[in-house]
Amino acid sequence: MKKVSSLVVAASAALAFTLASCTKEVEKIVEKTVFVNQDFDATKGVVKLNINHTFNGQPFEIRKNFTDVAGNTFRFDEVRYWLSNVEFVKANGEATKIPNSYYLVEDRDTLFYYGTTAASTTRNFSAPKKRTEVLVGNVPAGEYTKVRFAIGVDPTYNNNFALSAGELDINQMAQVASWAWQTSYIFLRTKGIFLAKGADALSGSVRFVAETGGNDSYRMVEFTLPTPVISKAGQVSNLALSSELANLFTGLNVAAFKGTKPAGWAADPNLTKYDKFLNAGSLDDMVKLADNAKTSFVKAAAN
């Protein structure tokens, strides 16, 4: 176990300015500030959630071809989701909800932020990023036999951008002028290229964006742990979560996604290249994806 004090480095904020003198173009690399141990209480413990993403059993990576059980090919640009409202439950049923537990899990390629326009001389982007470990602070000392967490953001925070908690940030995965015209968070987003089995690689591939959002898409995940996770004051315990991303597409046909392309996306170089969408424009499929986001988590184990 690691001592907590070595983890108290709270924030990483990198802001780099590159001046391309000939074009006068300014590029800013934006990294979100993450307060890992915001209001950390040293009399409590930290549980590190380590999320292992796989695709059809293979270790997940972006920009790599994967095949699902049916023989279709997927290649991903992005998987991001809000993991929130972590709860630990003791054998006697006593549940502890960890306040401010909102984490953005991501494995993605370069991301250009919404609002970037062809006419703009400034482009904001964030370099490729893999963030699959989160530190859940302020876990009261004790033995826990169950863990619960949500995929998405609960209505209190989803409905109100004036409230802040954990890593919630309207610059990240926020639904501000997109398919739902509902000012709230995108719960899960994945982007990539899909090629159906036997389809022509040049003409048959589709670029897709699949998203969930809206209060009805909020899903709780619960695991009973084979061995309890033990939280001790001032120490870090480990809890491994396994997420099988091929499960996201259970019962869904990427080539037949019927969602609509938000009007603003045409002007956004980050989004304009995609041609198949799953969102509230294809509500039944979005509900299915929200359910699949839950069942993509297949295992949790203390280690």
Binding site: Y113, G115, A162, I170, W181, T183
Partner: protein, 365 residues
Amino acid sequence: MAVFINTFRHNNLKTVPALLLLLTLGMGACQPTEDIDPTTNDGVAELMKTPAHFPALPDVSYNRQTIEGVRLGRKLFFETSLSGNNQISCVTCHLQEKAFTDGVALTTKGQSGALLFRNTPGLTNLAWATNGLFWDGGATNLESLSIGPITHLDEMAQNILELPAELAAKENYVQLFDAAFPDEKATGITTPKVLKALAQYMRTLNSGNAKYDQFIQKTAQLTEAEQRGMAVFDAKCATCHQRSQHLFTDNVFHNNGLDSEFTDISHERAAQGRFRITFKNEDLGKYKTPTLRNLSFTAPYMHDGRFKTLEEVLNHYASGIKASPSLDTSLRDFTLSSQEKSDLLSFLKTLDDESFTKNKNFKSR
């Protein structure tokens, strides 16, 4: 004896703490604290008063109104730096003289010049609009609303990642934000603070001094036609445009029979009303009941601005209501005679409030 601790701020926003002792000498009443610095008397305190006959202000626990917050919000409301091309502000489409509407059915004044698909809603008595905002309720509160128009590429097209730095480089914004939000964990200018300040200001846009209000407060008389109109109103309109709290809305979403079909899913389902937020069939074609205050300044009418005049609106209710499964039950078998229409028009004009459309305190100075 009562002790009041007040903090007074000068124009340059250097804080000057002052301790004020008021000896009430057994009279027991709290004295209103007055701003001792005349240079800060910029009308903000005046804005924060609400009409006496209105309901109590709903508490906004996550964004309580302060003088400094409203002052900042008022400045931001006129701030063109909130847009991508630095040429568009909130007042581009929310004009005070038109009760914060823009006089056109659908505007093209956004950065892209593209036609928007909803009529610019007026900003009136929003502090009491606690059941969803936008025509379809897509925003839960004013804080969450403003980010929509600020970022939409066909509206203000601001990249919100750039916004804090843009404001920090301009005028005295850093001091204004520090003064408005001294207790926030995140220091300096942040986008949520921009949203909060704008919301605090918008909650001061209160209209409650029309002839109608003076009648309620017994300082004015209504004519006979106006009184007949009020009786028709109470019988036929007040179900949704509730008069009990003098707000002339129930803050609920209704299908008022403008269309019979809602199959058009283009433009992100704009023509489907609240359905596009809830995806419930019963919400097809429903839009939020707008207040009826200041109608003389807010033409054209309806969510898409389809009616140019109030006569057209009343003709719709008299003979143009289209049936559909989600049509409001109170509008089935609805009738309105010529006399009733004429009397209603007289009554509705008593809701025009020039002290609202001409209130200098709404303007930044």
